[in-house]
């Protein structure tokens, strides 16, 4: 398969993830959709790495995975803390940072 196919798949997954971020209310699901977008990016990176023939893209993808792991840690910690306060884990209701 030529590289274009992989890029197409990556694009589709990215769009699906974006749609999820925009439509879902549950904060957890929003985070999941963010994971989707990150993975789509990873796929694109690896595809390009194969295209050029050097490992830079793969290293980038590893770092992305590290960042995703950190982000998940902190994000889930936030959600747990919110839940502990008794608030609903709902992106629409958690709107206190309002101007």
């Amino acid at each position: 398969m030529n590289i274009g196919w992989y890029l197409a798949v990556s694009t589709i997954i990215f769009a699906i993830g974006a749609a999820g971020v925009l439509t879902k209310r549950n904060a957890l699901v929003i985070l999941l959709c963010l994971e989707l977008m990150l993975n789509a990016g990873n796929l694109a990176l690896v595809a390009f790495s194969r295209m050029w023939g050097n490992g830079d893209g793969q290293i980038f993808a590893i770092i992305v995975m590290v960042v995703a792991a950190c982000e998940v840690t902190v994000g889930l910690g936030l959600i747990v803390a919110i839940h502990r306060r008794g608030l609903a884990v709902d992106a629409d209701e958690l709107s206190e940072l309002r101007g």
Partner: protein
């Protein structure tokens, strides 16, 4: 040390004293501030003496020396230096100012001892002396105007020294505003002169003036009239005089220094200094002479009926300065300055003695409540008598010689000056009357409460402290004369200073005894040599007649006062009843305050109110301020609505943004 070094030192010492006192006001304890202040002025006086010796050692032709420290500005065709002019006239003023100031500082060391603002007082006093000395030593019109303004500022600071008193602050503002009107006159006058001659330096202006303007040229008349506005405002002449009686709100040393001996004589100095210009502008000189004469009479009439001790002395100051202004406007320079000197002595003495009485009265200044202090305060009584005799022009006291010298000079010139001559003698009679009215009422008659308690050996203290002017309760925490009162009898520094002045008031006349010594005229010759009116030979017959008339009128006035107030106590009430209308006019101070309030104060206040209500509130607040404010508010509200707190909206914004960026990059490629 050279002459000009002495000249600069004269100014430098009070300035240094003022700065040291001002900076160290937290650390200087006790009477240190008084010592520093007094020694600064004493050093200034000694520098003045040194300058005098140095000046007299020079040949006659070169006794007008200009010294410049640096170029202040050199633009627009003007070369303004920071320069002083040391010549006989300025040195005379320096010695009078510094000498009397030293004595008054000495007096204040004890008088203000219990005041919270002791250090502040001496700092202000030194500052005042500095500005006055700068004024008299100024070598160009700019520096003169600077000194003029600073003196006004110092006067304001000192009049409202007890700043918690409403009356004092109002008086200070009144004095300052009227002085500023005078400042405007000085500046505008200076502009006219600079425009005409193209020079700022005084000697240069005087040299050029006869070539630029012919006699009574409208431009120079206008310029001199404007200068005279300034002189009249500073010297409290009619119609700019209303601030001087109110200025008695200040502490007594302030009244003695500023409103007797120094600041109010600045106008006299100005006209004397600018005499080359005034001689060209004869109309202005005539206006000045008439103004002086009018003031002389008006002030004397008011002095006959006022009941506040210090205000009597204030009106007498106004009257005597009228004599001086009349003299220097008419060209009788030597006599006018002689009277300035003697007046400084006896007027400061009178004020100091009055301070002693007021101290014994626990702050009360009303003559109606005083009486019988003769036995319990003999030194003060003696000083009042000496000052009063000098003021009334009784020989052989100094005031007699100086006043008669002025009137002799006027009479010698003849013409319409005879009217001024007569006015001068009428004024002399009234002077004697009101002076001794004051003395007899305060010291003779039934002893008042305070005198009785003094006889018992205690100083009288009021139960609660009230403002003697309007009776409001005093804030005794700050800005208030201390609870301890001082009278001259008890404190040596006060009695020494009064004693020195008493001696000077007595023997000061010897400086210019007619026919015997002509020291002052000789001394001032280098300055006034160019004046055609200086050095007119004396008409000895007129002199003898004048001296006799003067002495007779003075004694007559004393006798009348004695009859009215001592011998037949009810007489004054009967005279008041009989001359009710004049009495009303005089006791309302000729309604000047009311006229000025009507003509000037009320229109200004109304204009201010109009502008506040209409222009400021409607236009500025409504249209100009509200416009941009509401625009800012609306736009920020619009921007704020973006921050809804909705996470998804933010995410949508990010995605849209990303899409746009990608689009842009695609189109670029």
């Amino acid at each position: 040390m050279s002459l000009t070094t002495y000249g600069w030192l004269v100014i430098a010492f009070p300035l240094a004293g003022s700065i040291i006192l001002g900076l160290g006001h937290k650390v200087l304890k006790g009477k240190t501030a008084g010592a520093i202040g007094s020694s600064a002025i004493l050093l200034s006086f000694l520098s003045g003496l040194g300058a005098l010796r140095s000046l007299q050692s020079r040949p006659e032709g070169s006794r007008q020396v200009v010294s410049s420290l640096w170029t202040y500005a050199h633009t627009g065709g003007l070369d303004v230096q920071f320069s002083i002019l040391v010549d006989p006239l300025s040195l005379l003023m320096v010695l009078v100012v510094a000498g009397v100031s030293t004595l008054i500082h000495l007096y204040s060391v004890a008088y203000m001892a219990s005041d919270e603002g002791y250090v502040r007082f001496f700092a202000y006093l030194n500052f005042f002396v500095f500005s006055m000395l700068m004024l008299v030593l100024a070598g160009n019109l700019i520096l003169l105007a600077v000194g003029w303004g600073l003196v006004g500022a110092a006067s304001y600071l000192l009049i409202s020294f007890w700043y918690r008193r409403n009356t004092a602050t109002k008086a200070g503002i009144k004095a300052f505003v009227i002085n500023v009107v005078g400042d405007v006159g000085i500046v505008l006058g200076a502009i006219v002169i600079i425009q005409g001659t193209g020079a700022v330096d005084l000697l240069t202006v005087f040299a050029k003036a006869p070539h630029v303007w012919h006699t009574n040229d409208p431009q120079i008349v206008v310029g001199c009239l404007l200068l005279m506005v300034g002189a009249f405002a500073k010297s409290a002449q009619v119609p700019f005089h209303t601030w001087l009686p109110d200025a008695m709100e200040g502490p007594t040393p302030v009244s003695a220094l500023i409103h007797a001996a120094t600041m109010v004589t600045a106008g006299v100095y100005l006209i004397a200094r600018m005499h080359p210009l005034f001689q060209i502008a004869t109309t202005a000189s005539d206006v000045g002479a008439i103004g002086g004469a009018v003031t002389l009479l008006v002030a004397a009439t008011i002095g006959l009926v006022v009941t506040d001790l210090k205000r009597v002395i204030a009106y007498s100051t106004m009257s005597q300065i009228g004599y001086m202004i009349m003299a220097v406007s008419a060209g009788v320079y030597g006599a006018g300055l002689f009277h300035l000197m003697t007046h400084a002595f006896f007027k400061a003495l009178l004020f100091m003695a009055a301070g002693s009485v007021i101290g014994a009265m626990a702050g009360e200044q009303n003559l109606d409540r005083m009486g019988g202090f003769r036995k319990v305060m003999p030194i003060t009584y003696g000083c009042f008598i000496v000052g009063g005799l000098a003021l009334s022009g009784i020989p052989p006291f100094s005031g007699f010689f100086s006043k008669d010298d002025i009137l002799l000079g006027l009479g010698t010139q003849g013409g319409w000056y005879w009217a001024l001559y007569v006015a001068g003698y009428v004024g002399a009679l009234m002077t004697a009357i009101y002076t001794f009215r004051m003395i007899f009422r305060a010291f003779h008659g039934e002893p008042c409460e305070e005198a009785k308690s003094l006889a018992d050996g205690r100083l009288f203290h009021a139960a609660e402290h009230r403002n003697p002017g309007d009776g409001t309760l005093e804030d005794t925490g700050v800005g208030y004369p201390g609870a301890k009162h001082h009278i001259a009898e008890r404190s040596p520094s006060m009695s020494i200073s009064m004693g020195v002045l008493a001696i000077l008031a007595t023997i000061g006349g010897v400086i210019q005894l007619p026919k015997v010594t002509n020291t002052l005229d000789h001394f001032l010759d280098p300055t006034f040599r160019d004046s055609p009116k200086f050095g007119i030979p004396i008409d000895y017959n007129l002199m003898a007649i004048g001296m006799v008339i003067g002495a007779v009128l003075g004694l007559l006035g004393i006798y009348m006062a004695w009859v009215i107030w001592v011998k037949k106590p009810g007489t004054s009430a009967r005279i008041q009843a009989r001359f009710a209308l004049p009495y009303k006019l005089f006791s309302n101070k000729w309604y000047f305050d009311e006229i000025i309030a009507f003509l000037i104060v009320r229109p200004f206040a109304a204009t201010g109110r109009f502008f506040q209500r209409t222009v400021e509130r409607v236009v500025v607040d409504g249209a100009i301020t509200a416009g941009p404010v509401s625009i800012a508010r609306a736009s920020s509200a619009a921007v704020r609505s973006w921050q809804s707190g909705m996470l998804r909206a933010y995410a949508a914004a990010v995605i849209v943004g990303a899409a746009l960026v990608v689009l842009y990059l695609m189109l670029q490629a």
